[in-house]
């Protein structure tokens, strides 16, 4: 099925047709069995009575975690409406095979591989693009992580022509100790200088081409980076197989916390190893686990604030707005097409005020803690008070078909757009009795926890 931008930007007619498909959701709450709590009944829309996530929440979760975007109105309705008992598995498989998975997970891997052109990593632009493309290929093709590790550690040659050679360049500290730190952080999950001896012969030299650099290993007797790669499938294998599992759990479940749902780590390590160190089977098992199906209200599933890039894309998808990306660093200046999604920005040096505000990582160290998904007063002030955001919300409600909708239908339309579900009875009541303008209802929805977080 094509992911249609049309449905986001959609006209009311398409929406009404979809509502008919979903069994007249304009007046009916969608399959929430839980009791309505205070606060407009939002809790019952998030969690079933048995503490598991509702269908609409599950659909939003899967799109966000696998593809880094919120589902369209159409996609979430299809999921909620489907009576297929294996619908979760089917959606997971479809999403894992979609380009969206490679797009989003490349962003994450570029975070940990420190893909940025400028200070302090200084990969330089051409190298960033070839390296990013190679990383995306690795994700899309679900290649073996051990083979990729060997390629990254063993590559020699030009940063422009041998993408993998950039691994040994992507360090703010190009010393044997610094390279030991990035290699151990990347492959073993913890930075340490203890492998410095493997990197003593790594050397760099420039060429006559601007910003080109050759990575090479000087001849000699000592151990080489490739010898370190061999240790990864030898005496370091246990840590090598565990580190990606810990990383995936960190990305999806955050820090381990008491009482919070989390799949068992050891079983995942086994799956990862048995699959040939491939990412997709690992992610698949995580999102199909029982822990992943828990609700976030009482079920212990940890909420996670949307990544800066994902939030930016979500707002743009919903409002049909475009971004204005240009960057005077690095040189040569970069101008991106206005409809370029933020998760697709290859270069960590290209940013904007929004991404910085919402904690996009600097890609200086490759540490997972560089991405800051906490909510700050500055962020909430922006969402409360930004004129540019408010005018974008105005675009949603000024669509001609939207303006023809009655209050209940319009309310549902906005709930579906922003939160991937229809409004509960209580929410309809609050909206109707307050006589709030629809643009301000859109403002309210942008400012809810439910929108800002993956619940």
């Amino acid at each position: 099925m094509n992911v249609s931008r049309r449905v986001f930007l959609g006209d009311g007619a398409a929406f009404s047709a979809l509502c008919a498909l979903a069994g007249g959701c304009a007046s009916q709450n969608v399959s929430q069995k839980g009791t309505a709590a205070a606060g407009g009944g939002a809790a019952s829309a998030l969690e079933n009575a048995d503490g598991t996530a509702t269908d609409s929440v599950m659909a939003r979760r899967l799109y966000l975690d696998i593809c880094g975007r919120i589902p369209t109105v159409e996609e979430s309705l299809l999921y909620v409406k489907s009576s297929d008992p294996a619908k979760r598995e089917h959606l997971v498989d479809r999403l894992l095979d979609s380009p969206g998975f490679a797009d989003y997970w490349s962003m994450r891997y570029c975070d940990i591989l420190r893909v940025k052109s400028e200070f302090p990593i200084n990969l330089w632009p051409n190298a960033v693009y070839v390296y990013h493309r190679r990383i995306r290929e690795f994700i899309a093709g679900d290649e073996r992580w051990d083979a990729f590790a060997a390629a990254l550690l063993g590559a020699q040659g030009s940063n422009f022509r041998v993408p993998e050679a950039n691994f040994l360049r992507a360090s703010a500290k190009r010393t044997p100790e610094g390279l030991s730190e990035v290699a151990s952080l990347t492959f073993l999950g913890k930075a340490t200088e203890e492998f410095a001896d493997f990197f003593r012969r790594v050397s760099y030299k420039g060429t006559r081409e601007w910003k080109e650099e050759i990575v090479w290993v000087e001849p000699g007797d000592g151990p080489s980076p490739s010898d370190f790669a061999r240790l990864l499938s030898g005496r370091l294998e246990e840590r090598f197989a565990r580190a990606p599992v810990e990383r995936v759990l960190h990305w999806m479940f955050g820090e381990r916390a008491e009482g919070s749902a989390r799949p068992a780590e050891d079983a995942l390590v086994k799956t990862f190893r048995d699959s040939g160190y491939r990412l997709k089977p690992l992610v698949r098992e995580v999102v199909l686990s029982a822990a992943y199906a828990r609700g976030s209200v009482t079920g212990g599933f940890p909420r996670r604030r949307l990544d800066a890039e994902v939030l930016d894309d979500a707002i743009c998808d919903i409002t049909g707005a475009t971004r204005d990306y240009q960057s005077i660093a690095p040189e040569p200046f970069t101008f991106l097409p206005p409809d370029r999604r933020s998760i697709l920005i290859e270069d960590g040096s290209i940013s904007n005020a929004f991404l910085l505000l919402f904690g996009r990582p600097a890609r200086d160290s490759g540490e997972l803690s560089e991405r800051d998904n906490r909510v700050t007063p500055k962020q909430r002030l922006y969402l409360f008070n930004s004129g540019s955001l408010y005018s974008r919300l105005g675009r949603v409600v000024s669509r001609p078909n939207f303006q023809r909708m009655k209050t209940a239908e319009a309310t549902n339309y906005l709930y579906r757009l922003f939160l991937g579900r229809s409004a509960t009875k209580e929410e309809h009541k609050v909206v109707a009795s307050s006589k709030i303008r629809m643009r301000d209802l859109a403002w309210c929805l942008v400012n809810t926890r439910e929108f800002l977080y993956r619940c």
């Binding site: 939002a42 005077i328 609050v430 709030i436 809810t448």
Partner: protein
């Protein structure tokens, strides 16, 4: 000496030429000065470039350093050194001076606006906040201060909404939200609403200034940014950076500089005089510089056709107020500004001096979330801080 309360940094991004600003060399010949002249100033013995007549009139308010020097000729590395006092490399990204000073003065400030404000765009070459983390990141205003209203997205509410509408929609939001106890979302929301209910937004309301004042600063980006900076100082913000692009004059150097210096001359002279008149200058450091200067000998050959390249061996800075005496010249360049002749000043000494007049010990510890054992500034080279112009 009472510590300065605020700092205004005017960053001439790209590398302003020392010759066409604070270190003119009328005797160096046309290959260096293009036949342009120096003019006397209100400070005895100080001459500056003829393109800065308004600053010349108030030269008793500021001092000039003509012997800034460091070894980095690339924008990124030089900016990093001039901003952090650290040499690039070594695996750690240090915070800029603005993030350090504002963090250390945040407690005594206690206002609703963040303690570090950047007008109007970030530097973009590195993260200003370094390892201090998002908490100490600057508020980057965006927007255009030249217009009638300076709309700072997120601080100044969108036009057309009444207070009543704003509070009504908060009521609806509250009834729609499931209560979820105290978490960072709720705490951040409460803090944000406190900013909205106070007078922080008014700080940016340049339309409250008389038209004559706005004209005095110049209806330019740098001019109106300086005016906004003065209002932020009145509010109490400890560190304000104004990033002024347009000084990387490889080509069309003289056309570029003539225009840029005219705007800067008007804006900075207005700022200094206004701060003085409002009795704020003694409590406010104002500094003007860039990451380096420019090649003294004019590059007349193609493709530069009368441009100047980067020059880090010798360049100039202006410093005023907040415990620095005015009317002085620190250091001396040689006949052409090729090199420092006397009293070199390194970035670490320059920044260390600013910390010192702000009551922050540059050799004292820098608190940081990573628990790194660091001083505010690394050990300074022998050149020494600017004690000769401390008031």
């Amino acid at each position: 000496m009472k510590p300065a309360k605020s700092v205004i940094e005017i960053w001439l991004w790209g590398g302003p030429c020392q010759l066409e600003t604070f270190d003119p060399k009328p005797a160096a010949g046309v290959d260096y000065n293009n036949g342009l002249k120096a003019i006397p100033t209100a400070a005895k013995g100080m001459e500056i470039h003829e393109w800065l007549p308004k600053l010349a009139e108030c030269a008793d308010l500021f001092s000039v350093i003509r012997s800034m020097t460091h070894p980095h000729f690339g924008h990124e590395t030089a900016t990093y050194l001039m901003q952090t006092g650290r040499n690039p490399g070594g695996g750690t990204t240090y915070p800029a001076i603005g993030a350090m000073i504002s963090m250390m003065k945040a407690k005594e400030y206690g206002g609703d606006l963040p303690p570090f404000v950047i007008l109007t765009q970030g530097k973009g070459r590195f993260s200003e906040v370094g390892f201090l983390g998002e908490k100490w990141a600057p508020l980057v205003t965006g927007g255009n201060p030249v217009g009638q209203d300076f709309v700072v997205d997120g601080i100044v509410p969108p036009g057309g909404l009444t207070q009543k509408q704003i509070s009504e929609r908060f009521d609806v939001l509250e009834s729609l939200e499931a209560p979820s106890g105290q978490d960072d979302f709720a705490a951040a929301g409460a803090a944000a609403r406190k900013v909205m209910s106070g007078n922080a937004a008014k700080t940016f309301a340049l339309s409250l200034e008389p038209e004559s004042v706005r004209r005095r600063y110049g209806r330019t980006r740098i001019g109106q940014s300086c005016l906004a900076a003065r209002r932020l100082v009145e509010y109490g913000v400890p560190y304000i950076t104004i990033n002024v692009p347009g000084w990387d004059s490889h080509k069309r150097h003289f056309e570029t500089m003539k225009r840029a210096t005219a705007d800067m001359d008007q804006a900075v002279s207005a700022l200094l005089e206004d701060l003085k008149a409002k009795n704020l200058l003694d409590g406010t450091v104002v500094w003007v510089s860039g990451e380096f200067g420019r090649t003294p000998r004019i590059q007349r050959e193609a493709p530069w056709n009368g441009g100047r390249n980067h020059w880090c061996k010798c360049f100039s800075a202006l410093i005023a107020g907040g415990g620095f005496r005015g009317g002085c010249v620190v250091g001396r360049s040689n006949d052409t500004t090729d090199a420092v002749a006397e009293r070199p000043v390194s970035p670490v000494d320059f920044l260390g001096s600013i910390c010192e007049v702000c009551g922050i010990d540059p050799d004292g510890p820098l608190p940081n979330p990573r628990g790194l054992k660091l001083n505010v500034m690394p050990e300074a080279p022998a050149s020494g801080r600017l004690r000769e112009i401390y008031a």
